[in-house]
């Protein structure tokens, strides 16, 4: 047992690990430039879309259960009929859900693990699927949320972020308006079991494999935060 030469051993181990890194093929500059330009365009479009959707869904009201509870009975069917789009269209629903979810203190608590919000709380949402129940006028939406606490202004950055799946239940009112009536998360203590119980099998598999693509992306959220005072 010899750790007297600790400094040298650390340096040598890090150097060896660094040398073993595989450098992928491809042009990282091309990818960076293309992504940066794409994000700028999408950030502009995304903000405009969100504002338009918010204006169109003035009746939105959120009633969230306590975070960390298992799914309600509306989401226990492992293979419910899936709807490719919501009554208001996925784009409008996506923006409306995002707007409400990121302004609710219980969502903030869930993502920040009870921490204190210090900046702007922004979310990206991947709407993974929806089920429709005509008689009750309830729709269940399966989403992946990536939310964070962002500093604002020119040097905006994310300071804390969390990614969680959620089951969002909405009620259709009329004229395409929606009311969010429930949001449920899997328990951290029983994550995989709750995901498999709460989500249809195909979506649960996507969540467990992290086959998700929340929008806006983190970089777009940073852009959005940078436009805030």
């Amino acid at each position: 047992m010899n750790v007297d030469n600790l400094d040298q051993r650390i340096s040598a181990a890090l150097e060896a690990r660094a040398e073993a890194v595989r450098i992928p093929v491809g042009d990282p500059a091309l990818l960076a430039g293309r992504t940066a330009r794409s994000r700028r365009r999408r950030a502009t479009l995304g903000i405009a879309t969100a504002l338009a959707a918010t204006a169109a869904t003035t009746v939105l009201a959120v009633s969230l259960n306590d975070g960390g509870r298992p799914a309600s009975e509306v989401a226990t069917d492992p293979n419910p009929p899936m709807s490719p789009s919501s009554p208001t269209g996925n784009l409008g629903l996506h923006a409306a859900l995002r707007q409400e979810l990121q302004s609710d203190t219980r969502v903030i608590d869930e993502v920040l693990l009870g921490g204190v919000l210090t900046g702007a709380f922004l979310c990206g949402v991947d709407l993974l699927g929806s089920t429709t129940e005509d008689r009750s006028k309830l729709d269940v939406h399966y989403v992946w949320l990536v939310c964070g606490d962002f500093t604002t202004g020119e040097h905006a950055e994310v300071t804390t972020a969390g990614a969680i799946p959620a089951v969002v239940t909405t009620r259709r009112i009329d004229m395409g308006e929606l009311e969010i009536v429930d949001v449920q998360y899997p328990r951290q203590s029983a994550l995989q079991a709750d995901i498999e119980q709460m989500f249809p099998a195909e979506i649960a598999q996507r969540i467990l494999m992290r086959d998700v693509d929340p929008r806006p992306t983190e970089a777009e959220l940073v852009e959005e935060a940078s436009a805030m005072p």
Partner: protein, 165 residues
């Protein structure tokens, strides 16, 4: 603008990726982290080329690794399924350095960042303070805790190895 930024990114990418792997301990996560850092560098370059783009990239990468990206990965750990390229895959290649690397990898992100900046990047204490935005006392404290933890871990691991022999 694009030419200078592109040239810099191409030349700096291998260095940035190696640094990121040491910071996050996982090849795939490191690639995503470096891509994010490169995109931010590109955006910053568009506004005004950084005086020292290498330092800018190091700072962004390191702070992404220990702040938002760290927390996100912690929350997402339970979702990891199936085999992923990781440092464990190349454990055999690391040979005698494996025990030390595993111990470094197990450090909390801020302590690991201090160790990487000090022992791999060869930065001085003031330079580490500038990268991490920490006071000198905090950097010293983090480095001390990290070294104590590494020493303890290596003592335990190598003690157990001696006993098995």
């Amino acid at each position: 603008m694009g030419g200078d930024a592109a040239d810099f990114i191409r030349s700096e990418y291998p260095t940035a990726l190696r640094r990121a792997v040491l910071l996050v301990g996982d090849q795939r996560a490191a690639e995503a982290l470096v891509q994010e850092a490169m995109v931010r560098l590109w955006a910053a370059w568009r506004r005004q080329p950084p005086d020292n783009p290498g330092a800018y990239l190091r700072t962004v990468t390191t702070n992404l690794a220990i702040s938002g990206w760290r927390r996100r990965r912690l929350r997402e750990v339970p979702f990891e399924m199936g085999p992923e390229p990781s440092v464990d895959d190349s454990a055999a290649e690391l040979g005698e350095h494996d025990v030390v690397w595993r111990a470094v990898r197990a450090l909390p992100p801020r302590q690991r960042a201090v160790i990487v900046l000090r022992y791999y990047e060869g930065l001085s204490e003031p330079e580490i303070c500038a990268v991490l935005g920490m006071a000198p006392g905090t950097v010293r404290s983090q480095a001390s805790k990290a070294r104590d933890h590494l020493r303890s871990t290596l003592n335990n691991e190598e003690g157990a190895f001696d006993e098995r022999r």
